[in-house]
Symmetry: C2
Subunit: 382 residues, 2 copies
């Protein structure tokens, strides 16, 4: 018997209460009974997004909402800026290019954060830029981008700020309205503690205005149509009923804990993970502005990261994620968002030091765990 632990930056573990909610018999979606579930989820999502705006619920993974944020807001040939500091920044470029937008890219070294002054300079140089695309937390590297500061620039111009918050919303504080974010996106399999299959997206008032002039074609991801349906507590197309039933439950769990405590827990788990990695002499991929959602660390040069991740998963039952593209085989990513607590971090660091030891890396067993424990203790009740 191998007991399994999912400690990846998404999908994240689903709490038993949510698994049970989703295991209930399916009810029809065009009924007042389902609309009640939908209305509850809709209301709580607004609190999670910290917005007065509607939050649309789409049957898709996060990439679907990313595509919709391009097609519902822009017209062919328009100029946009993509902050590209990783695999998901790159995805913005691919989507925008697929739909015929002119993409200017601010390339950021993987693991680093975009510099606010570079964004300002680019927007000054190219006043035609109609939108800026960014990741609040870049899941391929574990780095944060300065969303709040960039929003201060974009909200003073006719430039929309579209934020992939897939490993940010519900992980740390991203107050959409207060910061002046125009589009904020998340997916179900991260802080929302659900299986993948739902994407959530909210638009600012001026973004909704923009949808009226946007000429790119769209149908399945038609935000205005979804908003009309949302007002009637339903969706345009058949919703992912069981996931939305789970969503109501997971949002209830989040608000029972309270957002400030949820954020503090993520911050603490992240700090403990970094302390553990550092005690093992592993270099952090994103030391300057590390995400509370995940921690990426470089594997020691003589260890094959791919083999390390496979060994952890298949022999030890601990699922982390490795690196993508230029980081393939070179990094390990540990997730600490969603349904994650103190002893998941203890397990993660223990597994990491044991696996590194197995591959011949010079590790003092227990040293990483001790460092993590030191940080985790601070969060214990008296």
């Amino acid at each position: 018997m191998i007991k399994n632990y999912l400690i990846a930056p998404g999908p994240t573990p689903v709490p038993p209460r949510v698994l049970l909610a989703m295991a209930q018999p399916v009810i029809h979606h065009r009924t007042p009974q389902f609309s009640q579930i939908f209305a509850d989820a809709k209301r709580a999502l607004k609190q999670l997004f910290q917005t007065e705006q509607d939050v649309l619920i789409l049957a898709a993974s996060g990439t679907g909402a990313m595509e919709g944020s391009v097609t519902n807001l822009f017209s062919p040939g328009e100029e946009v800026l993509v902050i590209n500091g990783g695999k998901f920044g790159e995805r913005w470029t691919k989507i925008a290019s697929s739909y015929g937008l002119q993409v200017a890219e601010l390339k950021v070294e993987w693991g680093r954060s975009a510099r606010v002054e570079d964004v300002r300079r680019l927007l000054d140089e190219r006043p035609g830029i109609r939108g800026v695309f960014i990741q609040a937390s870049e899941t391929s590297t574990g780095a944060l981008h300065p969303t709040e500061e960039i929003a201060r620039i974009t909200r003073q111009r006719d430039t929309l700020l579209i934020v992939d918050g897939i490993t940010a919303v519900g992980v740390f504080d991203v107050p959409m309205d207060r910061w002046g974010i125009d589009v904020l996106i998340t997916g179900s399999q991260k802080a929302l503690m659900l299986p993948p299959g739902l994407a959530c997206v909210a638009l600012s008032e001026r973004a909704w205005q923009r949808t009226k002039e946007a000429k790119l074609p769209r149908f399945y991801f038609d935000f205005a149509r979804e908003r009309d349906n949302l007002a009637k507590d339903t969706t345009a197309w058949t919703p992912a009923i069981s996931l939305i039933t789970g969503l109501r439950e997971s949002l209830a769990i989040i608000f029972e804990e309270g957002l400030p405590r949820v954020f503090a827990r993520h911050t603490r788990m992240a700090a403990a993970t970094r302390a553990g990695a550092t005690a093992l002499n592993l270099d952090l991929v994103a030391p300057d502005a590390p995400s509370p959602a995940l921690t990426a660390m470089f594997v020691p040069p003589k260890v094959d990261g791919g083999k390390l991740v496979s060994y952890l998963r298949d022999r030890m039952g601990v699922t982390f994620m490795g690196g993508q593209d230029q980081f393939k085989g070179k990094i390990v990513r540990i997730g600490h968002l969603g349904y994650t607590g103190t002893f998941d971090i203890v397990t993660a660091i223990a597994a990491l030091e044991m696996a590194l030891h197995h591959f011949g890396y010079d590790v003092v067993l227990g040293r990483g765990v001790a460092a993590a424990e030191g940080v985790l203790m601070a969060g214990m009740p008296d």
Copy 2:
């Protein structure tokens, strides 16, 4: 306590085995463990579609696969023919128009089937038509269209036949390769006995060729990219992991029963439902070519169909569906696809006669059930 019965044309009831499979802890999708589940589902789906081609699995409801069948196969301005005999036929027109195709429509009276000679005539008159869109079973009316006969025409021309099989695949025999269907679509919440959230779509060899020249923009629903990923037992974007885990289980259930028996069961349930309705003097909406997936019947003139459906659902616990658009308040639709057996039909007809009686319609209680029983008896083991 009200005990609930979902007897609608989708979503359909989910078998306990499938609910349990989906309630398992989520595993990461970029692992050999998930790829094994995916590979099993992929293999069984080919059998279900009766095709040698790959069947793509998308995180979306059926409409997403419908959109993808437009954007992956056509270029702006191309001419297509839509067979429009109901709400879902109309959807083909809306999607194709949204993406700038020239749409010729063959309008079919709701409840009737398209006539093959009309299709042939239209294709002869307009040789530029590059594709024909149809529903194998039109869920808003319960009518079948003659897919096999239309495929005989399209496969002899450079005209693709795109079939919405959402209430057809796994309900009755739609052998994709043998008939020469170019695109076949289904959704998870019908014969596949799952919650909504997955769409499945397969393309013929010549349809795959066509994707290479098709210039409409697409990204989330990029079939070629999905096929490349499918070959590696994964998906392009994060898959709906729990639904795919359920899909493997539901396909296992389907193939334990065997397709011929599944089809025969649907046919028998449909015949029993029609017999019950007829014994209650209710007119069938689609008497000529009724679908084995659902039966639609007109409500007696003095009964308000909306109130009837609400009463059945909220007071009796039996969820049917009413009519849409021109049929709103005028019809009732009973689903008998998927996880549906003899006593679901007995329940449906009993509930129907009791509710009609409640609304003052002259019903001899038990007469509808007796007629249904007569048909259902034929399927009983000796």
